[in-house]
Amino acid sequence: MRQKGLRTKETWVNRASTVTGALDRSAVTSWVRGRGVYVAFVALVVFNLAITPNFASVATLSNLLIQVSPVVLVSLGVALAIGTEGIDLSVGSVMALASVFLPLYIGYGWPVGIFAALLVGAMAGLVNGSLVAFVGVQPIIATLAMLVGGRGLAQIFAGGQLLIVSDPAVLALGQARPFGIPAPVIVATVAAIVVGFLVKRTTFGRYVVAIGGNRSASYLSGHPVRRTLLAVYAISGLLAALAGIVATARLGASDPSNIGILIELSAITAVVVGGTPLSGGRVKILGTVMGALLIQLIATTFIANNLPFTWAQVFTAAIILVAVYLQKGRGAA
């Protein structure tokens, strides 16, 4: 891993220059590079405070957070997959699958419905994970097949129609506001904290990063590579299912042809903009959450100022390119 070696050297050089007290320009750019997503986010918030009418209101904030919740949930799993030098393209279809299983089993009570939805998500993740870990299929292809096939399966289970969900306990997951905080936001926050803890504080997290750095080396060091990969994709499926449940609860219906469509692109964007390199070996959970918030904020900014929404897409694309170009200097692109 020549790139990784270069990176180590660079940080080492930077540290040396800070020690000598010379906070030169390269140290500043390096600091910005590492925290580009926060800088961009703060800049956009300041811009909005100055320009956008009614931006600093509870309604705007809670709308922003509610809309971003499913993306955050899905991005957390994708971040783990990308950390192992993989990817999970199937998250949107897994959302649709979970969304269909919820109303199918809710007749047995809401806990059964939610359990079935989470189970089908984890199963889909396990299928992805087995293909990646045991068969050696490239993650992009394994999850591409699930992306294409999963939504078809969801539509078959739904019989090609919208299934209404009216159970109050499930609807609360999408619409309740305990202590004034929308439930989806709470779910996403808890999930982010749990995944962040997994990555930072557990051996599992260290294995994820080690596999992303170098899969063979990790295996030779005696790490449980296959089990870890299996777990990563299962967690990603589970989180996608959770996102599917939340989205279904907000909608009050399961819509397998539209739920979570193209969300994999938003998730990958959030992860990459947040500073997790596609080449694996590093996972930034807080960065991922900020990346998701940044993208949503861009969309909100354009809508709130009556600018055509499609230009927001173009702007997001530019942000991705700039973010990745800046990271490149750190050997992370």
């Binding site: 293909l131 045991f134 068969v135 050696g136 299929v137 490239q138 992009i140 292809i141 394994a142 591409l144 097949a145 699930m146 992306l147 294409v148 096939g149 999963g150 939504r151 078809g152 399966l153 539509q155 078959i156 090609g160 899969r215 063979s216 990790s218 295996y219 030779l220 590579v225 296959r226 042809s257 692109l265 990958i268 964007t269 990459v272 596609l278 080449s279 055509p308 499609t310 230009w311 927001a312 897409q313 173009v314 997001t316 694309a317 530019a318 991705i320 390119l321 990745v324 170009y325 490149k328 692109a333």
Partner: protein
């Protein structure tokens, strides 16, 4: 397409050699074999499958995807990926529909030029700035779709049926629909370039090992830039032809076509890791996807989602076969 010299071990029938042989044959011809089986089975099952009209319909359905898949094959063999083609197709269609009111020949040229330029830009970012193809073209997917939507005001732009431009989508040459002719030319030229020119060989070399290709002094950067430029141009052409066919430039056209194109290429036996693959395989892959759609229409009672399920299934079977036959040590 690696032609190996006769291996002395073959005589002993070593298991590994046998497996490698089988894999190579399957990888190169597997899609064609499956295609023939599917055609034969469908011809026996459905009365009006094997009619000239239906066969032409199948090929016509695949023509637009086929044009994209040719460019995608080059990109994937070189070890890259191009996710932006679906959006490029939409942009090409919108541009064609807008410019056709001014001058119809320009409607055929401008989409190719603009999409080619976008492809060139992506290629430069990938080859010169050393950014990951996945990310650059993902940004392309988002940005170019946004551009197409913005240009079209988020709704389809109609093309008058009397315009000579409509001929490129609806006309016929020797009884063949014009888009089919374009696709066939693209496949023949693409196949020849890939196998018979040094450019094609360099593509294989880069996909095999970019580092080695560079050390051999091959023009790696230039070759990659050209591959992405061609991919963009072909997507633009496909978009213009599709607009002529449908008499409208739809900014939502080609949604998720990048996935179909990648599926067709992979089903056709091209390795996503690069370095191996063929244009003929891609042709078979495109036709397979197209026949699948046609069969589902023939049955009539199945929803369009059955096609997604079957495509996903096809993809996984092919990839599993590839993985088992090339079984290396997996950690």
């Amino acid at each position: 397409m690696v032609t190996r010299p006769a291996d002395p071990e073959t005589a002993n029938g070593g298991d590994a050699v046998w497996r490698e042989r089988l894999f190579e044959t399957l990888q190169r011809r597997g899609a064609v074999v499956v295609l023939l089986i599917v055609i034969a089975a469908s011809a026996l099952t459905f009365d009006n499958f094997f009619t000239a009209q239906n066969l032409q319909n199948i090929v016509l359905q695949g023509a637009f995807l086929g044009l994209i898949a040719v460019g995608m094959t080059f990109v994937i063999i070189s070890g890259g990926i191009d996710l932006s083609v679906g959006s490029m197709l939409a942009l090409g269609g919108v541009l064609a529909a807008q410019i056709v009111q001014v001058s119809w020949p320009l409607a055929l040229v401008l989409p190719l030029l603009v999409c080619g330029l976008f492809g060139l830009g992506q290629g430069l970012l990938i080859a010169r700035a050393k950014m990951a193809p996945f990310i650059v073209t993902l940004a392309g997917l988002l940005g170019i779709r946004g551009l197409a939507l913005a240009l079209a005001g988020e709704r389809p732009i109609g093309i008058s049926g009397e315009s000579p431009f409509a001929w490129f989508g609806q006309g016929q040459v020797f009884g063949l629909a014009v888009p089919i002719v374009f696709m066939v030319v693209a496949f023949v030229v693409g196949g020849l370039v890939l196998v018979r020119t040094s450019y094609g060989q360099i593509i294989f070399a880069i996909g095999g090992s970019e580092e080695s290709a560079r050390l051999m002094g091959l023009p790696v950067d230039r070759t990659k830039v050209i591959a992405y430029t061609v991919s963009g141009t072909l997507a633009g052409l496909s978009g213009a032809l599709l607009a002529a066919r449908l008499s409208a430039g739809d900014p939502n056209a080609g949604l998720a076509w990048e996935l179909d194109a990648i599926s067709a290429v992979v089903v056709g036996g091209t390795l996503l890791t690069g370095g191996a693959g063929s244009i003929s395989g891609t042709f078979a892959g495109v036709l397979l996807l197209s026949i699948l759609q046609n069969l589902i229409n023939q049955v009539g009672t199945l929803g369009s989602y059955t096609q997604q399920l079957l495509s996903g299934f096809f993809l996984i079977v092919v990839v599993l076969a590839q993985a088992f036959l090339t079984r290396k040590r997996i950690y």
